[in-house]
């Protein structure tokens, strides 16, 4: 049996090398096989092998500190620091809890007030092309800045973040070891919060920002962006792989019987549905189980205010001073920012939301951008019936009601449970003790 698998894998390597990534080419060289009494077709195998393993995390040239250890340590400390919020009670970890698979387990997140969307998991977040459900951020470091200043989330400001950093000796030392000398503001100030809010110039924080010198504004913006870069360095470490599914795919490649038994027959049947008739693979593609793009799956309002999703986010993304082509990026080249440069609004973007990863999905509910589905069965029932009338725009037309049997739904859930992966070193799951705090 091992020899058979070895030959299969050799053929796959050849196939990849000569470019047989087209359906017709692939089906001519892969052999149908049976595992656990379940038949995996040639096409099934072609798609399954592309789902694992998770590749090495790609670099982010817009953040030259993305893989800096000290930056990651600083970012970890800041991630758990409630002192960045206006009431001193909210941190990134409030909604992205390490013991909750980096979610809060709630339908809608709650910072200072209830938000309108569900907190997505941070597992493997460094692999993403866009951030937020609507993709209004193109880099992880830029995304990390928004909640700090969002009036419904942490309600703070870039000035508060700057002062938090400079007033803490451990933070300051770490910061300077990574980013160089941390300059002081040119004059004493008596307020804690200042940030630009050009759309609401009457706001106190905006007026405070306007009272600062251009030089001080530039300094604060620079430090603020570096805070985001530190947080990215930390969050890039939140990688989960080595699921039972990964082990199974390794078995397909190696022929190792023990690995092939990693999935139950129900999970294998669910996998065949996932890559086959269910067509889940169309959007949940690649080893991160997402195409990193956006789709309107036709959800109704669900009792929530209308959310236009991706369409209006694209303009925000392009105008964002902290985007990958902006002043604070470490690489503004086209090569480093192709996704941002070429993205454009299309009518079909209305009502689209980002395809979420499915790694650890069984542990990261509730589901959908508004957390409307409590468990995976509800999600599968939705795709099985497609009974909703889209709240806006039009449903991705490749979606067709699957009319799954109860047994098929259970198989899919068994497969999705097999995507639960490894956890992390315990040291990454909590606020670190910095050198000067020991």
């Amino acid at each position: 049996m091992s020899r058979t698998y070895a030959i299969l894998w050799f053929v796959l390597i050849l196939c990849s090398g000569c470019g047989k990534s087209y359906d017709a080419g692939v089906t001519s060289v892969l052999s149908e096989m049976s595992v656990g009494g379940i038949t995996l077709s040639e096409t099934n195998l072609f798609e399954i092998l592309k789902l694992s393993p998770l590749p090495t995390l790609p670099p982010n040239p817009t953040n030259q500190y993305a893989d800096n250890e000290d930056a990651a340590l600083l970012g970890q400390a800041l991630f758990f620091d409630t002192g960045l919020s206006i009431n001193g009670k909210i941190a990134c970890a409030t909604c992205h809890q390490p013991d909750n698979d980096w979610t809060d387990g709630k339908t809608l997140s709650k910072g200072l007030q209830l938000l309108t969307r569900n907190a997505p998991t941070l597992w493997n977040v460094g692999y993403q092309r866009w951030y937020y459900w609507d993709g209004r951020k193109d880099t992880l470091w830029s995304q990390a800045l928004n909640p700090i200043e969002h009036p419904l989330e942490m309600g703070g400001s870039r000035l508060r973040a700057y002062q938090r950093l400079t007033s803490n000796e451990s933070y300051r030392d770490l910061y300077q070891s990574v980013f160089g000398q941390l300059s002081l503001l040119s004059s004493e100030i008596e307020f804690q919060d200042a940030r630009p809010i050009p759309e609401r110039p009457e706001e106190t924080m905006h007026q405070a920002w306007q009272s600062l010198s251009v030089k001080d504004q530039a300094l604060i913006n620079r430090v603020f962006s570096n805070i985001g870069k530190s947080m990215e360095a930390y969050q890039r470490r939140l990688i989960s792989t080595d699921s039972l599914f990964d082990q199974f795919v390794h078995g397909l490649r190696s022929g190792n019987d023990e690995d092939l038994q990693a999935l139950s027959p129900a999970a294998i049947r669910g996998l065949v549905l996932f890559v086959g008739r269910g067509q889940c693979i169309l959007c949940h593609s690649g080893p991160h189980f997402t195409d990193n793009e956006f789709h309107n799956i036709g959800l109704d309002l669900g009792g929530n205010p209308l959310d236009q999703g991706r369409y209006p986010a694209i303009e925000k993304l392009k105008l964002d001073p902290f985007n990958g082509k902006g002043l604070f990026s470490d690489d503004t080249s086209l090569q480093a920012n192709r996704s941002l440069h070429y993205v454009t609004e299309k009518d079909n973007n209305l009502g689209e939301f980002k395809t979420p990863t499915l790694r650890n999905v069984a542990r990261t509910g509730p589901y959908m951008h508004d957390g409307r589905f409590v468990n995976l069965r509800e999600v599968i029932d939705f795709y099985s019936m497609l009974a909703d009338t889209p709240a806006i725009g039009h449903r991705e037309e490749s979606l067709q009601a699957l009319n799954l049997t109860s047994s098929e739904a259970a198989d899919l859930i068994a497969f999705l449970n097999a995507l639960n992966g490894s956890s992390l070193d315990a040291g990454l799951l909590k606020k670190p003790i910095l050198a000067l705090e020991q």
Partner: protein, 140 residues
């Protein structure tokens, strides 16, 4: 006005090229366009980099356009490129940018086919005020 390219033949060419012996660095699709007017008829050649066209990665395209009757192309000829998944009701999420190298040769950047499935690549030509479209169908 719409020019129709045989999807089947275009796809066959794709597959044939992709499955050729040895590793290829580029992929060429030559699509003899059929047109419903005698006055405008072109042959289009597309070379992709990387090749074969990757799923959900940026790909550049060199586009060559010739008149089938051998006549010279107008200097003012303009090109637009877009792509669609007709069975999905959407296309690419990008706006490709086109740089003219010479009249009839263009560098196209910003293509990203983010899903597997059946795609149609549209090359819209405007020459002497006459619009036309070449459609290349392929499967990722």
């Amino acid at each position: 006005m719409k020019w129709n390219v045989s999807s089947i033949s275009a796809f066959a060419l794709l597959v044939l090229t992709a499955c050729g012996v040895g590793v290829q660095s580029t992929q060429t699709i030559v699509t003899p366009l059929e047109t419903d007017t005698v006055s405008a008829s072109y042959a289009v050649s597309c070379i992709f980099d990387p090749s074969p066209i990757p799923r959900n990665e940026h790909v550049d395209m060199t586009l060559s356009l010739k008149r089938k009757d051998g006549a010279a192309l107008s200097e003012g000829l303009s090109i637009k490129v877009d792509a669609d998944m007709p069975s999905h009701g959407h296309g690419i999420n990008t706006a490709p940018e086109i740089q003219k190298v010479t009249t009839g040769k263009y560098e196209v950047k910003g293509l990203l086919f983010h899903m597997g499935g059946e795609w149609e690549l549209y090359i819209d030509v405007m020459e002497d005020g006459i619009p036309g479209r070449a459609t290349i169908a392929f499967t990722l």
